[in-house]
């Protein structure tokens, strides 16, 4: 198996120390995940409680003396002999149900995007994604505050005249039309909190010296959004996206520009893999900014893991 040694800056193979360790590791690989369904105590660890009888368990038979404990004791847990019990005093409010799962997105309107391009604050000759938008210095994304990234709003879409390849986390139909009518491409992509943190501040991430993680797939309530070609989701079928582009052009009344004949064709069609965080970098690589090297795993187990 391989281990990363920071001193030499490479992955090194080491032999297993003993047969016992190997046996334990092989068990770990074979057996299913430990859970309540496959755990039981050692034999003899649990003794069933029986009511005390006879010579040394007699007289009160384990029921104590007098009171409701020794007598007919039927009161349920929480019962307060008739008054409104504590657990029923406060009604269940659903105002914040599931709030810890909901993400918020930073709004970027089309007018502002056009302004950034006009003032050369945002380059359009490379694909624009999360990292580029944060690098303008005008936006900050806080994954710890349950922010999911950027959403593109349609304010000022009439004045939008840029051909760009943009990747955001949410976009409305009018915004998609505004981008596509100018000959650009738009994709909506999901970044899990760790990937989001890495993408928003790549330099701080590389300084940590950890391998680039795999970007996780969206949670259940978001996977439909990102698999829908209407939203230009990154997990949608590109053939269906082509059809939706045609339909949207018909709906909004513009002639669909031909990307194939555009000079920026390669840039406009450049897409990240669903597991990639940065353009040009794979999961598993360690970027060393000090020595200006990229360190890649050699062990097949690690390679297989990062490609999965």
């Amino acid at each position: 198996m391989s281990v990363f040694l920071p001193s030499s800056g490479s992955y090194v193979n080491i032999m297993a120390s003993s047969a016992g360790t190997e046996k334990a590791l092989s068990l770990l690989r074979r057996l299913p995940r430990v859970g309540l369904s496959n755990l039981k105590p050692n034999p003899g660890a649990h003794r069933n409680k029986t009511r005390s009888r006879g010579m040394n368990g007699g007289k009160t038979h384990g029921a104590g003396s007098k009171g409701s404990g020794q007598r007919q004791n039927f009161m349920r847990l929480g019962y307060e002999t008739g008054n409104n019990p504590f657990y029923l005093r406060f009604p269940c409010q659903n105002y914040y149900k599931g709030h810890h799962l909901k993400l918020s997105y930073i709004p970027v309107c089309m007018g502002k995007l056009q302004m950034l391009v006009d003032t050369n604050r945002l380059r359009t000759d490379i694909p624009v994604d999360l990292t580029q938008l944060v690098a303008t210095g005008l936006f900050s994304v806080r994954p710890e505050e349950k922010e999911g990234g950027f959403m593109l709003e349609d304010d000022g879409m009439d004045h939008f005249q840029t051909r760009m390849n943009i990747e955001v986390q949410w976009a409305s139909e009018a915004v998609i039309a505004a981008v596509e009518r100018n000959g650009g491409t738009i994709t909506t992509a999901y970044y899990d909190p760790i990937a989001l943190g890495a993408a928003c501040n790549p330099m701080a991430f590389f300084k940590r010296g950890v391998a680039i993680p795999k970007r996780m797939l969206p949670p259940q309530h978001l996977i439909d959004y990102y698999s829908d070609p209407k939203n230009r989701g990154y997990l949608a079928d590109p053939d269906l996206v082509a059809k939706e582009r045609f339909i949207l052009a018909q709906k909004y009344g513009y002639e669909l520009p031909d990307i194939k004949s555009s000079p920026d064709k390669d840039m406009l069609l450049e897409r990240k893999d669903p597991r990639q965080i940065f353009y040009g970098l794979e999961p598993g690589w360690v970027v060393n900014m000090k020595d200006k090297v990229i360190v890649k795993p050699t062990d097949p187990v690690l390679k297989e893991f990062y490609a999965s």
Binding site: I126, T131, Q132, A135, D154, M157, D158, A174, A177, A178, T185, P202, M203, K214, L217, L235, D237, P238, D239, V241, A242, K243, R245, F246, A249, Q250, K251, Y252, G253, Y254, E255, D258, I259, K260, D266, L269, D273, P274, R275, Q276, F278, Y279, G280, L281, E282, P283, W285, V287, K292, V293, I294, A307, S308
Partner: protein, 203 residues
């Protein structure tokens, strides 16, 4: 390793750092494909979002829904109504027109139907005119105008289904029953009015 700014070769991977310069790396990951890449999720797909979609054709009275936007004349002007500086300066009103007779994308039957049903929307020089200033946005107003046009063509092309022979028979029977009842009531009323008259004098 030296920093090389603005490397233009497609094969080099790029990493944009905050100060705007690039780092040149060997063996780029442009072809990184994980187990959830689009090829794995959609193995039968061509994975081409730029493929040409053939627009559907109109056949006879059936309108396919496709409108070639390049053959319409779109003009913009300022909208009416309140709105201050925005409504005074921004061209959000959309005028959509096309000459019905010479439109190649409509069949002859459709043209006739449109000319008949929407003659009030057709100008003196034969252009069908559609206006929209519904929203604050030119783009959305254009979408609204196209929606109106599509709706107009669909309603013009709509041929209500002929009633079935049972329905026709039912209608005839009911009409005749109504007529019979009306005449019966008329006769009854007449008898009542006659009975209220006095006897006719002989002289």
């Amino acid at each position: 390793m030296a920093l090389s700014a603005l490397s233009s070769a497609r094969s080099l991977s790029r990493l944009l750092v905050k100060n705007g310069r690039y780092i040149h790396t060997t063996a780029p990951a442009a072809s990184f494909k994980s187990s959830v890449s689009l090829e794995k999720i959609y193995p039968e797909s061509g994975l081409d979002m730029t493929r040409n979609i053939q627009p559907p054709k109109n056949e006879g009275i059936n309108f396919s829904g496709y409108i070639p936007v390049e053959q319409l004349q779109v003009s913009y002007s300022r909208s009416s109504g309140p709105g201050g500086q925005n409504v005074n300066k921004v061209n959000t009103k959309v005028d959509l027109r096309f000459h019905v007779e010479t439109a190649e994308w409509l069949t002859q039957e459709l043209k006739e139907k449109i000319a008949e049903k929407y003659k009030s929307s057709i100008t003196s020089d034969g252009c069908l005119l559609i206006r929209s200033d519904k929203t604050r946005s030119q783009q959305l107003n254009l979408a609204d105008a196209l929606d109106k046009l599509r709706h107009m063509i669909h309603t013009a092309a709509y041929v209500p289904p002929l009633p079935s022979s049972e329905a026709v028979e039912r209608q005839r029977r009911r009409h005749e029953a109504a007529v019979r009842e009306r005449l019966r009531k008329k006769r009854d009323r007449s008898l009542v009015k006659q009975s209220r008259r006095g006897p006719e004098s002989e002289f």
